[in-house]
Symmetry: C2
Subunit: 479 residues, 2 copies
Amino acid sequence: MPVAAIIGGGVIGGGWAARFLLNGWDVRVFDPDPEAERKLGEVLANARRSLPGLYERALPAEGRLSFHSDLAEAVDGATWVQESVPERLDIKHRVYADLQEVCSEEAVIGSSTSGFKPSELQEGAARPKQIVVTHPFNPVYLLPLVEVVPSVVSDDAFVERAFEILRSVGMHPLRVRQEIDAHIADRFLEAVWREALWLVKDGVATTGEIDDAIRYGFGLRWAQMGLFETYRIAGGEAGMKHFIAQFGPALAWPWTKLMDVPELTDELIDMIASQSDEQSGAHSIRELERIRDENLVSMMRALKARRWGAGKLIADHEASFPETEQGEGLSETVRRTVPLDWVDYNGHMNEARYLQAFGDATDRFMEMIGCDAAYIAAGGSYFTAETHIRHLGEVNIGSEIRILTQVLEGAGKKMHLFHSMYVGDEVVATGEHMMIHVSLETRRASPPSDAIAETLEGYATAHAKLLRPEGAGRAVGVR
Amino acid sequence: MPVAAIIGGGVIGGGWAARFLLNGWDVRVFDPDPEAERKLGEVLANARRSLPGLYERALPAEGRLSFHSDLAEAVDGATWVQESVPERLDIKHRVYADLQEVCSEEAVIGSSTSGFKPSELQEGAARPKQIVVTHPFNPVYLLPLVEVVPSVVSDDAFVERAFEILRSVGMHPLRVRQEIDAHIADRFLEAVWREALWLVKDGVATTGEIDDAIRYGFGLRWAQMGLFETYRIAGGEAGMKHFIAQFGPALAWPWTKLMDVPELTDELIDMIASQSDEQSGAHSIRELERIRDENLVSMMRALKARRWGAGKLIADHEASFPETEQGEGLSETVRRTVPLDWVDYNGHMNEARYLQAFGDATDRFMEMIGCDAAYIAAGGSYFTAETHIRHLGEVNIGSEIRILTQVLEGAGKKMHLFHSMYVGDEVVATGEHMMIHVSLETRRASPPSDAIAETLEGYATAHAKLLRPEGAGRAVGVR
């Protein structure tokens, strides 16, 4: 297993630790805070309940997590060293000096700094080229963005290696073309934050009203398209130039406070804190974290189904997971974690999600017999004619489920499948499905390709030698 | 039907027209552009494919849409007049003068202006109090935010009436406490836009990279929580004050260009336009509109399932729809539009969504017999033991489906239901379900309350007199 060393294990460092760990890395944490293990445990618990379920396939097995009071021990063999110590240049310089005495020269030393430029971080370092800004966004285990900022001394092969590692843990490294204070995203956050403080101070809006102005409007646009693509659409068929001609002049209007920075008096801080209490005080911070993660998982999974934006990144990452090795007997067609958005009011997996999982199993089996995306694009597919589901046990959110698939009949236009869903060794549900091969042009039954017919028949013959599953051929309410 | 008059039918006016029309209002459009009807038709087509499916229940029947070249005719009987003409004060003043000669004194005249203050709009008007800023966000038919800005002369009862009307069409009116240039949201958009132009001009990032920096990071946060609630969490258990203490000092750092406004030279405009082409040029503007709407619908429905943010607004709006009147015979338990996010790779409604719709029908029937949220919170519920689904016809996205529910057996712990799903008069699928009453504490079978048992038995007895449905009691593959 590759090893990541986490220097500073707060909310950000803990998020990095979780990101690496759940993607199969061994993680070693160095943090002098006696509370570090407890705090990191809280972040990790949030990550474990939210990240694995983002994917339709199981993540690799978790790596090993350990805490170290000796820096040399923490970085021994590490290919990635992530520094997330307080935002003070003198502290960071001291950390790099210590680090470079003990860590591998090949390791990437990434800094989570939101404000400092890499050239500032590199000042006085033994090996300046080894240090690069890798600025993530909270919660680090869910949000894919990492701003990667090299300096002029950084070399491209090194940066490319950092990119590969970040991609391999499901992140989106964005190379910032020039170093600049606060990189990219935090420049926007800073501009909005300053303007928001003015609006609160001047009594134009409360903190809750400002949040509503964001989340009921442009926040939804930005979660999927960002600024320029949104404005390109606003320009209509005439596009971007037309939009700038329309909206451009407003730049010179006094719509923002621009240069003025509101003074953070005690009075203003109290006003914000009390408005924020009124807005969000019904939930503890821990509850808000979980609500946030549930919202993010639900929205990111919604985008994943559409293969767009952050959802497309998740799908691409998932495609890099190794294939399940098929053993003897039945085919394993699903192995996944039940995601947060599959819960229902009874507190367990919603019934429609059983059929979604069985549908995924059918899709996977279709791929295995050659009915894949290319075949479907060429006009052939299977439609479900009939389904029978039995619920034999409860399935909870966060459980790992596995589905084994048996072909009961596979001849002509028919494909009769029997899926068994397991949690551990227990069968928690079965799904029996009659599929009919169709032409997507006529929308009517049609024979599959010869290749598919042959492969399917092979499975049917092999599976016929196995026990016919208990529960096949049943009707509702009949034993 | 109430009547809305739409003055100016471009992208924004068209969005307003769609919002009112699909919520059952008659809409009259006044726009001298000879292309107005075609352009508004495009917006309306987008709205029809995206808005109705946001809800788990059918919207009221669409109102009537008409185009008028006579202003008096357009506003006759209108209780809402929405002005979305170009952003020039002289034009707006002329429109108000004409409007106030012919429209009802009771009507709300709302302006879609993003920049002007209401007192500026009201200058020289015959009835200044009648004019208020109601600033929406594109796409108006999906995004719920409307900034409502009254001036000092506006009266509260009038503003409250405007609020009620906006809520009745599913929007979130946000009262801006003081009039200010650009209201609230556009001050943020302006600040970010200015900063983004600098980043492009200085070669720090391309338009595509900036959009990635937004949509893979804080855009996802803001779509559901906004700025302050997000930062409250970042402060950890110590909350908002701690966050300000940490992040506050950065305000004074030179992280933004602040006062400087980049000059929109032809060179800069060309650079942005060509970067935008590279980023988004693979899709036409019309395609991007549809992609945007599909993304928004998917994310908003994801939030709806979580009853949070924009999703909670949708759920609350839906709760205001009138109940379906139950006729003789079977109970209508679902009547809804198939939403955009229920599509699968075969181009029709995904099989798992049939079970979701049948599950909703079961939930509605449970409510009808008294097994509602309060009963469930008190520890009783029904779990599904077994399901049998037959697919008899295809269902497309955007179709209206209805489900009629028959009780086959309802005694003791058992509830045996048979749902028939219709598109028009055609049965497209049936769902047969065996439900078992359980204690949510022991997670085991238990008898329902006497009241539920009695009501359920009443339905069972009544439904037993009806024809037993064709297809009940079938096993997969057996005729």
